[in-house]
Symmetry: C2
Subunit: 475 residues, 2 copies
């Protein structure tokens, strides 16, 4: 493996033996991964229910085979959870809870795939298949890392617990119900998750900030039924025009949200954090090209990286109202409906933001229509403490394997399990991603960069070793 690494850091002999095992079993590891990928575990499709269950069973069998203990297929109202552990490192050693998900996105539209979605195909250093990067390839890294220890030296440097779910792409309800009732089983010092991308093939990244969410419906009602716009137009307020006025008052054209008090709870970015975020070498032109939009846009006082990760937003996700069929129809519509989501950043509270939204909409709504707000769902924003031992171990493991320190990024979306584990287990998550930005997860021709599979295993082996030798009270 990386020759330089042993000279830079004093790795243990145990880790080196595990690495040797991993190196000499590369081909088997890949074949095993392919077996898992071939199971079309599309968790949301009822017709794939059996296959989704089969993927969970395959994992339990495989985890037993690699030497994990207490392997369990946990039945839920939805798709199975899978658990397994190895806890013989001793109580003075930390415990790592490794999370992943074996469910995958639907493969549709099928005709856009250049290779069969559930037949892993290797081309130019990538394996093409649904679930290859999201998340089968990434979760398998840690199983293989653990196997490499157990099958070489017969033990792990830390205690390890695995928890895999089959509903990550569909809300994660089963895990959400399970965690609060399984605190002993899942208790750990840190969560390790590989389900995010790196910046590029050479530059790893750790996500340390996640935006939260406040999703609302906004319904505007005017007349009790659609009216003839000739007979009533000019004398009755039009709910679609009214909705447009309301929306235009929620956020100005430069991206500033106009709801009074909306920014009150936003923790200002420190100079240090802005510098940290600035190290993320986002290629704005590439990013823009991926979006297909005419221009980059947003709050002028913040960089693109800051806008996406560290600033709250308000986006209309959908509107419907009036006549939307082909051609023209001159109705003055009865109702107009908007779906609106606000991405939140620390320390914004979902409930407070919803209340501010609701009060402001009531205040700016004209008396000529009725408006109604409905809270749909929410999630808290998260900032992961970057100054914990596991984080330092992750940084070093990346540095050794990839030759570069990871950049720290704030992710614009949310990863609900991070909040779930924090809330119930009181622990942080290390988001140690091995994907790439152009893996096309959720799209046709999803792929996973094979060198990252092998480097990921190496990185996981290094991480477990480094973490076991960190001073757990400090650095």
């Amino acid at each position: 493996m990386t020759e330089k690494s042993n000279t830079v850091l004093n790795f243990s002999r145990e880790a080196d033996l595990a690495l040797e095992y991993a190196l000499s079993n590369r081909d088997d590891f890949l074949e095993e991964l392919f077996s898992l990928i071939r199971i079309p575990s599309v968790g949301t499709q009822p017709e794939r229910r059996a296959e989704t269950a089969a993927a969970a069973s395959w994992l339990t069998e495989h985890m037993e085979k690699v030497g994990l203990d207490n392997v369990e297929l946990i039945s839920t109202e939805g798709n199975h959870l899978v658990y397994g552990d190895w806890l013989e490192a001793g109580s003075e050693k930390p415990t790592v809870l490794i999370y992943g998900h074996y469910d995958v996105q639907p493969a549709d539209p099928l005709h856009k795939w250049q290779t069969p979605p559930f037949e892993p195909t290797v081309k130019n250093g990538y394996v093409y298949a649904r679930g290859s990067a999201d998340d089968k390839g990434q979760l398998f890294i840690h199983i293989k890392s653990v196997e490499s220890y157990l099958k070489s030296i017969g033990r792990l440097p830390v205690n390890v617990k695995f928890i895999f779910e089959g509903e990550e792409e569909s809300g994660g309800l089963s895990l959400e119900k399970y965690v609060p009732n399984s605190l002993d089983q899942l208790s750990a010092d840190v969560v390790l998750i590989s389900d995010t991308p790196m910046i590029s093939k050479e530059l790893p990244a750790i996500v340390y900030g996640l935006r939260g969410m406040c999703f609302v419906f906004l319904d505007v009602t005017g007349p009790s039924h659609d009216l003839h716009s000739g007979s009533y137009g000019g004398g009755i307020d039009n709910p679609l025009n009214a909705l447009a006025h309301i929306i235009s008052k929620l956020k100005d054209e430069s991206g500033k949200i106009l709801i009074p008090g909306f920014y009150d709870q936003v923790r200002p970015l420190t100079g240090e954090e802005r510098q940290l975020l600035a190290e993320n070498p986002v290629q704005e032109n590439v990013w823009l090209a991926n979006s297909g939009a005419p221009n980059i846009w947003g709050e002028p006082d913040y960089s693109l990286t800051e806008r996406l990760g560290a600033r709250p937003t308000l986006d209309v996700n959908g509107i419907i109202g009036g006549y939307t069929g082909e051609g023209a129809k001159t109705v003055l519509p009865s109702t107009a409906h908007a779906k609106i989501s606000m991405r939140l950043v620390p320390e914004q509270k979902v409930a407070d933001i919803y209340n501010l939204f609701q009060e402001y909409v009531a205040q700016i709504s004209p008396p000529t229509v009725h408006t109604k707000c409905t809270f749909v769902h929410g999630g808290s924003p998260a900032l992961i403490d970057r100054d914990i031992p596991a984080m330092h171990a992750a940084i070093k493991a990346y540095e050794v394997v990839f030759g570069q320190k990871p950049v720290f990024i704030r992710e614009g979306g949310s990863i609900p399990v991070v909040n779930l584990f924090k809330r119930h287990l009181g622990i942080e998550s290390i988001l140690m991603g091995f994907g790439l930005p152009d893996d096309r997860i959720h799209s046709p021709n999803e792929r996973f960069y094979l060198p990252n599979f092998y480097r990921g295993i190496e990185c996981s082996i290094r991480f477990l070793d480094l973490y076991s030798r960190m001073d757990r009270s400090g650095k």
Copy 2:
């Protein structure tokens, strides 16, 4: 009939004989109308094509039976036109072109009908049936008026031409193509149309103003595909938010249209006209209750009647964009679509208004999205000259039969045939309506007030007589 009338105005013996005939044949007239109504001539429904054709055939046979000449069933690419005339009054007498339409709206939703939609049912002085008021009952008035003359005295006081179409409810394309190629056949001094409502059972109305129309599509495109609002929100402009901003700049919340130059061609209301319009005793609370809206709304400097008839408007008729299914989906949508119609008043020109719209939208569109305007259809606004002989004849006929002069109203919608005849034949239309505001045309339980059927025949008889004796060069 009205005893008083003969003492007020010096009617001709001929008209009195026609009235006598009408009076003694009331029951037959009604039965014949019922026969026409029973034919479900829903012009837009392909499965009703045969029945729609049957209604046209029924009319030609009936027109021959009452003594009209040159009766013709005119084939078109759509539904038949029906023509018939009686031109023996002599060239010194004026010619009246009587227009009506035999197609009716679909009867859906059927379950809301209290009686079968195509089985005329008399209750409380109304006949309930689809097409009873719109427009079979009203067009039949004039056939019966003409019959009453021809079957009593064997002649009419004026020359008469009938033209009926079967596509009024679906755009009137066949008539639009026919008129310019049939100028000789259709040439006349005035058009007589009964397809509008009176103010109330006692108070007749003549529509003299019609709003025009400029219908446009406004499409906003941002990214080339729907994006994840977490990964892109805050850094890419959202077409739905952008569309809301654009729409909010088209018309302010008080109803003032903000497109520069939009009002330049609007002919200001004269004091006399405002007084005339003020005579229309619109019961605002009844009108509002019919709309089901919370409040009346519109330009503060204009009365409700003025807002509806004499002021231009801009209404969003439909919007769609982003995710509009059930529940929540956090997309940053690629596109947003709006259908927008502007009702125009004299002397606004459709092409000029479209150009102003397009230029202004281009000007207020941010560089972060693409906007596209498409002209869909348009129609000129119309003001009918109230100072022509036929108008004076109509006023007097109404006054004699209903005991009250008609009020003059400006209709908020448009009646395209008025423009069609004006453009190609160079003549005005007299919109002598016999419907009532609560006839529920286009809705379940459409009805026609039976006394208006009989009074309508009387009114038509009086009109033809009065018009024949007007000084055609003045009043």
